[in-house]
């Protein structure tokens, strides 16, 4: 057993962001020992990200505000240090693998921190090479960042963090955009870092990959640590006990499908024949896909990061042009680019889909001709718990609220087919349930819903059918009314989904 000594301590620490009316951290007392693996969880807005920002010293210089009490990291008060100074010993990895890259080439990115801290050229080259080697990711060397999948980018972020061999790793929702298979690879990396004696702090909603790895879990609420559990204590909680704490499951085996009445299929509503697609000057992404779908179904499109799920969804919605394939709706042949008249696409990033200056206007946009629109708008606002925000500017909402708003717009749309692209990525338990209810509402209203997702729990709550995508074809087409089929889906996501 290694000797453990305190490496980070919060002494009655409170923090209030500039321009905010409430404290994001309230009187936090916490001691983290060296070599410890700590997970901080809780609902969105509970203060867990703020806690990580104290540890990596982004607070109080980069994110300004009022800090009271004391936070000591590696023997120094964060009031007297800054993120640059601390960065030599503390590596940070963030949620969005897209916006944490400074350069455009994977090798340069891995070298970036070394360059900034003035490590000699020869030593940088050595460290970059050994980083790619030691984590067995030489296929990611010297690649264009914009051509990598989100999973690959997050792996590069890990490599970039290791080159300075820091004592502490701080991760803020690193799994939000990743498929399950890649998340389990991230688990392997974390496990190796833990074995090497590093202190690791993870702020996270999705907990399954930390099962058996984390020493301690902190559950936060409203800026305070409200419960503290060891890894073993956490593992003993039942699914119900986790949900009472409004947490995502720690063990994927506990997820079961909600038995839904099997859909009575009438006539085929959507038919796709022989769809093939490749991006400009790239190998074929989708190969000869044919598909029949019925109203009242929720079909989950499942496959690894970068397998073409989103592309298929956008082709189906008439947003990306596809020359090969025939499309029939209600038995009538429809030109591919006219599909946008029948299919509504909800984007992964809510920010790409909010265009007006109030929540109510946002729901009315493009729907003004629908009879009794105002009643429907207020009904949807109530269902999505947004009625108190109806006059807010959409960009003043939190991430989960924005996501629900874009789904609200889809619910109002009169288009019979709805495609949702990873609607629950980065959402906590409550928000995920709200989105699941909205999806079930649309299905029950007789729409045909497609969900593109990596979220097993969300699938268990909503999907009536699953299509497993791999190497450009639909490998399996399963009805989600039987536990056994659900198990097949789970195994596919855990094992085969990867490269």
């Amino acid at each position: 057993m290694k000797k453990q000594f305190p490496i980070i301590s919060f002494e009655h620490a409170s923090f209030q962001y500039e321009g905010q009316s409430q404290e994001s951290l309230k009187d936090v007392k916490l001691i983290i020992k060296s070599g410890e693996f700590l997970v901080i969880t809780g609902q969105s807005g509970c203060g867990k990200t703020t806690l990580t920002r104290c540890i990596n010293n982004l607070i109080p210089r980069f994110f300004e505000g009022r800090l009271s009490g004391e936070v000591i990291v590696l023997g120094r008060s964060i009031k007297e240090s800054d993120a640059g100074e601390a960065g030599k010993e503390i590596a940070s990895i963030f949620q969005d693998p897209r916006s944490q890259f400074f350069t455009t080439n994977s090798s340069s990115e891995v070298a970036f921190a070394c360059e900034n801290y003035g490590i000699p050229h020869k030593e940088i080259v050595k460290r970059v090479n050994s980083a790619f080697q030691s984590l067995n990711m030489e296929n990611l060397k010297d690649r264009d960042i914009f051509a990598l999948s989100s999973g690959e980018r997050q792996k590069v972020a890990f490599l970039a963090a290791t080159t300075l061999n820091p004592q502490i790793y701080v991760l803020d929702e690193p799994s939000a955009n990743l498929d399950i298979h890649t998340i389990l690879q991230v688990r392997e990396i974390l496990s190796a870092l833990k074995a090497a004696g590093h202190t690791i702090i993870v702020s996270e909603h999705r907990l399954f990959y930390l099962y058996g790895l984390a020493d301690r879990f902190l559950i936060m609420e409203d800026g305070q640590i409200c419960e503290e559990l060891t890894g073993e204590e956490m593992a003993e909680l039942s699914a119900v006990q986790m949900h009472n704490r409004r947490l995502r499951p720690l063990n994927l085996d506990l997820i079961q499908i909600e038995r839904k009445e099997s859909i009575c299929r009438s006539e085929v509503f959507l038919q796709i024949r022989n769809l093939s697609f490749s991006h400009k000057a790239m190998p074929e992404l989708l190969h000869n896909i044919s598909l029949e779908a019925y109203k009242g179904e929720t079909i989950a499109l499942i496959g690894e990061n970068g397998c073409g799920k989103t592309t298929l969804g956008k082709i189906l919605s008439g947003l990306i042009r596809c020359r090969q394939g025939a499309f029939y709706i209600d038995g009538k042949n429809v030109k591919q680019q006219k599909l946008s008249d029948y299919v509504y696409f909800v984007m992964q990033e809510a920010d790409h889909q909010l265009y007006t200056d109030s929540v109510t206007e946002e729901l009315r946009l493009g729907n003004k001709r629908i009879p009794s629109i105002d009643e429907k708008v207020s009904q949807i606002l109530k269902m999505l718990h947004l009625e108190n925000f109806k006059d807010c500017h959409p960009y003043a909402l939190s991430g989960g609220q924005k996501q629900r708003l874009t789904i609200g717009a889809a619910m109002l749309s009169e288009k019979p087919i709805i495609v949702l692209d990873e609607p629950t990525s980065g959402l906590d338990w409550d928000n995920m349930c709200a989105v699941a209810n909205a999806v079930n509402y649309m299905r029950e209203a007789g729409k045909l819903v497609f969900i593109i997702t990596h979220d097993l729990e969300f699938i268990s709550l909503t999907a009536s059918r699953a299509l497993l995508l791999k190497e450009g074809i639909i490998k399996d087409d399963l009805q989600m009314t039987e536990q056994n089929n659900f198990k097949i889906v789970k195994n596919f996501m855990v094992e085969e989904g990867g490269e």
Partner: protein, 234 residues
């Protein structure tokens, strides 16, 4: 390093920057006609040198079509083409060479090696980093508007100009703001503003080949400037 470098000749990114500066200055300072055509020719030459075959051919075709249109269209339209479009096209083409063939870290290293102050180097690097993200955001917002039934059709832009403008610009600005915050937080934790002598992963040195290329480029520009002062016109 870069897939394009395999096809074309690798040369120092400072030459590409100088090409942009000279082209932008001369495109509007000098006359059009033969001088403009020569200027375009020089940029095209460097694009081919960098291995940008397809782009060069495409841009050249656009240039020639515009040039021919200018001959047949009425004077007020043709002057827009010759005084504005052709010159902008030439400058954009020169910029495109830099964007398509240069790594950010390579450009930073080259600029720092020439003792350009950090206050200029970092913004240039960030612009280079932001453009691909911005391009992606624009595409996604366009797709989002289409699915909402408020697509950027000609009719819609004409009938609701303010609404279209707002609907498009607000999300782009919000995305930029968010990306900028996240990107700088990430760069900050990795020591971008740590006060010490910076080192480099990619070493850049101005080699003999670069010097010859530079002299060749300056000579070509000298010829262009000379022709613009000649009384002959085509």
């Amino acid at each position: 390093m870069n897939k394009l470098r395999k096809h074309g000749v690798y040369y120092d990114s400072r030459i590409k920057l100088l090409l942009i500066l000279l082209t932008s200055a001369l495109a509007f300072a000098l006359g059009g006609g033969l001088t403009g055509l020569l200027l375009f020719g020089v940029v095209c030459l460097f694009a081919l040198l960098s291995g940008l075959w397809k782009t060069s051919i495409k841009v050249a075709i656009v240039y020639i079509v515009l040039l021919m249109l200018a001959q047949v269209l009425p004077i007020h339209l043709s002057s827009v083409i010759t005084f504005f479009l052709l010159r902008i096209l030439t400058i954009a083409f020169a910029l495109n060479i830099l964007f398509q063939t240069t790594e950010i870290s390579e450009l930073i290293a080259a600029l720092q090696a020439s003792h350009i102050p950090q206050a200029i180097v970092i913004p240039v690097a960030i612009i280079l980093r932001f453009l691909p993200s911005l391009k992606q955001d624009v595409l996604y917002i366009k797709q989002g508007m289409k699915t909402r039934g408020v697509g950027l059709s000609f009719w819609r832009i004409v009938s609701h100009p303010a609404q279209t403008y707002e609907g498009f610009l607000v999300p782009i600005l919000m995305r930029l703001l968010m990306t900028a915050t996240e990107l700088s937080a990430s760069a900050e934790t990795r020591g971008i503003s740590y006060p010490c002598e910076k080192t480099h992963y990619i070493l850049v040195d101005f080699r003999l080949r670069d010097s010859i290329l530079l002299i060749g480029m300056l000579a070509l520009f000298a010829v262009i400037i000379w022709t613009s002062f000649q009384p002959i016109s085509f």
